[in-house]
């Protein structure tokens, strides 16, 4: 059993030349990553007016439907907007390529041939590369230069299973797991610096480690690409049905506002 009463003495030069430099390098590389991603981003592709009109029509209908059960707009306005949108969806006036010719079902554009979707995918992959490469390089650098010595003692205990990962290069079978090598300091920094990046780079910076979030929801990330081709004919049909449904649910917020007001000020006895 390792004698935990006797503690190791470490050379202060290790602190000066390993501890601080690793942290400093990781902070600076994180800032560098953020700016590289910013520079690599191409400006968003400008969609032609017809395509934008298509998307906005759908958005307008969704906004209308979202608050239909407790709607802030009076019935005449709601009904007129809803009817106009329904008629437009039915006739296909908002479609990018004009109303459907009526010659069979239209095929959705192929993601490989549609240039807008390709740009979206390339941007995603570029960001991924920029994130991964510096991490690999730093890990290699640490493994090469800072190998084979104990760096720091963790203030909390860990199970023996972590010994092989955190004490790599130090062949002592019964040293406390709390004495760890530089690689584990790298991991601590990797996870702990996200908060710092958020503070110095502003909220939506590209240095934050989102790998955990991405692993948890790969499907959600896949469906949210802005360049994804969608079959607007089908979407408009579905939206028209949704509008009819929402109209059934519709009720105005100010329907009985006079009664409510009088009741609030006690002028009307509540029955």
């Amino acid at each position: 059993m390792s004698s935990s009463a006797v503690s190791l003495y470490l050379d202060p030069q290790i602190r000066d030349w390993v501890l601080f430099p690793i942290t400093l390098v990781m902070i600076l590389v994180g800032v560098l990553r953020h700016y590289v991603v910013l520079l690599l981003q191409s400006s968003p592709k400008k969609l032609p007016r017809a395509a934008i009109r298509e998307q906005r029509a759908l958005a307008r209908s969704q906004i209308l439907r979202a608050t239909s059960a407790n709607s802030p707009i009076p019935p005449s306005y709601y009904r007129s907007i809803s009817n106009r949108l329904s008629a437009a969806f039915e006739a296909g006036t908002y479609l990018k390529d004009g109303p459907p010719q009526g010659d069979g079902p239209s095929a959705p554009p192929n993601p490989m041939t549609d240039p807008a979707a390709m740009d979206g995918m390339m941007a995603g992959m570029k960001t991924q590369m920029v994130m991964m490469v510096p991490q690999m390089v730093i890990m290699g650098w640490i493994n090469f230069f800072f190998q084979g010595f104990v760096l720091i003692k963790l203030p909390f205990p860990l199970t023996l299973g972590f010994k092989s990962m955190l004490q790599r290069g130090i062949e002592t079978p019964d040293m406390d797991v709390r004495w760890v090598s530089s690689l584990s300091w790298y991991f601590l920094n990797f996870f702990g610096l996200n908060g710092l990046y958020r503070l110095i780079l502003g909220n939506d910076n590209s240095a934050v480690d989102t790998s955990q979030a991405m692993m948890a929801s790969p499907f959600a990330a896949g469906t949210n690409q802005p360049g994804q081709p969608q079959d607007y004919v089908k979407l408009f049909k579905a939206e028209k049905d949704n509008l009819a449904f929402a109209e059934g649910l519709y009720s105005w917020m100010g329907d009985d506002v006079e009664t409510r007001l009088l009741r609030k000020y006690g002028k009307l006895r509540s029955v």
Partner: protein, 128 residues
């Protein structure tokens, strides 16, 4: 349909929330939690706390900062400032979800605490 009144109340409450304000509040809260995590880590490291004592200090620091935010920023009225409290109040009239939002440090800040704690513990107690 027993679900209907609560769903409607939920929707009404959702409509009352104003996204830019929610964003600003969340950002402020995150910064406050981050700074408390950093200072708690430094304190735990310098004092030489280990194991549960250190994590206990972290919990205490989070409680203290949540309490300060409650008194100074929210002025006791959680429903006016926390989106979780607004929707929870509409559904079942309780404010606990808002309190959890104030208290929850998030995984980022927990890791930051551990990093700073290890750093200061190492500087003060391990090196000569």
């Amino acid at each position: 349909m027993s679900n209907d009144p609560s769903a409607q109340a939920h929707q009404t409450a959702q409509q009352l929330l104003y996204p830019p304000n929610i964003q600003h509040n969340t950002l402020t809260l995150t910064s406050i939690k981050f700074l408390s995590a950093v200072f708690a880590g430094a304190t735990a490291g310098i004092l030489g706390l280990t194991n549960l004592a250190g994590f206990g200090l972290f919990a205490l620091a989070m409680l203290w900062s949540a309490g300060c935010v409650y008194v100074v920023c929210c002025k006791g009225k959680l429903e006016k400032y926390m989106p979780g409290a607004v929707t929870a109040k509409a559904i079942n009239g309780s404010g606990w979800s808002g309190v959890m939002e104030l208290l929850n440090p998030g995984s980022d800040n927990a890791f930051t605490f551990v990093l700073v704690w290890t750093l200061f513990y190492g500087i003060v107690h391990v090196y000569d």
